[in-house]
């Protein structure tokens, strides 16, 4: 059931949803939001494409296979957490730098943002993996064959 309305709407919604997911990710730095909810939001446009077009189109939208996204995200989050150990601090300790911005403001950037980015990738990977598995009915082979 290909619907022209859904397909056209998807074309417009897709960039908005991706942008909103990034907004949620960055907002989580100091306010409610963050990697988990951002990742869920990022999976939504992929799911929408899988519904409006088909699973292969949605799959090609992802830069990496879901399982790779998952591994990459885990590695980012774990790397940030473990990095603190090498600096002689307890696990998961955040480090911050304050960048003066043109116009007088100060932007404080910290490793928690990187950690959140890892979570974002993990959630995106897991959710898209679940969607693709359900759509193609091969839950346990995790698309080994198609690689």
């Amino acid at each position: 059931m290909k619907s022209l309305i859904l397909q056209t709407a998807t074309r417009y919604l897709f960039p908005l949803l991706v942008l909103y997911s990034v907004f949620l990710l960055v907002r989580g730095h100091h306010e409610p939001g963050g990697g988990f909810i951002g990742g869920l939001m990022a999976a939504a446009p992929i799911a929408l494409c899988a519904l409006a077009y088909d699973v292969d189109v949605a799959r090609n939208l992802l830069p990496l296979r879901p399982i790779r996204l998952l591994a990459l995200g885990l590695a980012t989050a774990a790397g940030v957490s473990i990095g603190a150990l090498f600096m002689g601090r307890p696990l998961l300790t955040g480090s911050w730098v304050e960048l003066p911005m043109p116009g007088g403001g100060v932007l404080d950037l910290g490793t928690p943002l990187l950690f959140d980015l890892g979570i974002y990738l993990v959630v995106l990977g897991v959710v898209t993996q679940i969607i693709f598995s359900l759509a193609t009915k091969s839950p346990l082979h995790w698309e080994r064959d198609e690689s």
Binding site: I67, A71, L74, A75, A78, P90, H141, W142, R144, S147
Partner: protein, 502 residues
Amino acid sequence: MNLVTVLPIVIPLVTAIVSLFAWRSLRVQRWISLAGAAGLLGSAVALLVAVRAGGIQATQIGDWPAPYGITFVADHLTATMVLLAGIIGMAVVPYSCASVDREQEEAAYHPLLHVLLMGVCGAFLTGDLFNLYVWFEVMLISSFVLMGLGGRRPQLEGALKYVALNLIASFIFLVSVGLLYAAVGTLNMADLATRVPDLDRGIATSLAMSFLVAFGVKAAVFPLFFWLPASYHTQPAAVAAIFAGLLTKVGVYAMFRVFTLVFVLRDVGATQTLLLVLSMLTMVTGVLGAVAQNELRRLLSFHIISQIGYMVVALALFTPLSIAAGVFFVAHNTLAKSTLFLVSGVVERRRGTYDLDRLGGTYRESPWLALLFALPALALAGIPPLSGFVAKLEIVQAGLEADAYIAVATALAVSLLTLFSMSKIWNAVFWQPPPASEPPPRRPPAGERWLMECPTAVMAAFTVVVGLAAGPLFGWTQAAADELLGPFGPSGYVERVLGEQR
């Protein structure tokens, strides 16, 4: 900052991630997995050495000070449990390379195994009640997927029962954590230890009871154990060994921790009496259930329940001697039980079945394997000089000192029944001639034999070593009991955790 307290979590995590990157090559995954297991064992030994030398170790995660952040704490009890996890991980990884179906092993078996080990170690190390819940979930999710890998019908059936009942337990746990937080305003266990004594007795008792239910399901205590025999017999032997050895023990560990540190058992009304009665019923129903079984793994699963009863009875007696005996029993049982499941897997590889009626003649065919079974089986029944003898002797002694004669009588009677049911396995699997209708046993290739039988043999040797070295080892579990229940109560733990902030 204290590296040894976080390494047992960091190493399995890194192992899981790296083996995810090696997604395409099972060979590479196996080597990474083996290296990770060795690393975990090494870090567990380092943790134990640090605790033996310097007392309780603590680290504040993320550098947030104690009652607000999450603290990771390692005392003797924690270090012992982490070491057991390390030993079992080290035994199971090579064993599963030879015994788990290739299809299952390729479906992220090794990453999941290490996530499971991380969850187990995290549950042992954390000093925060909500964080304990999180580690329980990590374990539950990874064990659920491990159970379901391969997706065969009985497997999924077992896995569904397992996850449904454990989710209910998680829910009760989470609700209890929420109620406790509402009542006291903290979830750091050391902070709780200082505040719960001021709590209204009625509220404290009802909270203690709801934690008892939550941990009771995890530990498979009567009458909450039904998920265990329904699910443990559907998995590959390697997975069953790690589940049997470690997962229920995490529930027991949580009981030991919460009922000595947060709710001191003798202060929370009828909980102690209830626990004592439940533990006796657990011992009896477990062993009676086992006697009625005719499938090797189901029989062993019921024995897990029966043995959990001994650990809980030790906790319920609540004297320093009984706690030390309980910790010793947990160590002995983890090793012996995993070994039995490993042996059952080796038997199955040869004969293709776990059904007692279809097995037989293994002794004639492989006396070596029979010895590997006999050691942990006799240890489980409590025959000297094996590890179970000392463990049970100490529990009986603690029971006599506490005038708990019914509990002592139950423990002794259940021991006899355990021996009976172990001799039933011995007869059916090893002694009697195999039924004529059965095909001749398969001769496994040498590589497979090495991978499966060497870890099993090392594990079986542990039951002898633990039995022979019982003196020094018991001193070490007494140190654990002193930290939990010693003359100063849990004050050492509290000071170490809350003192860190300064």
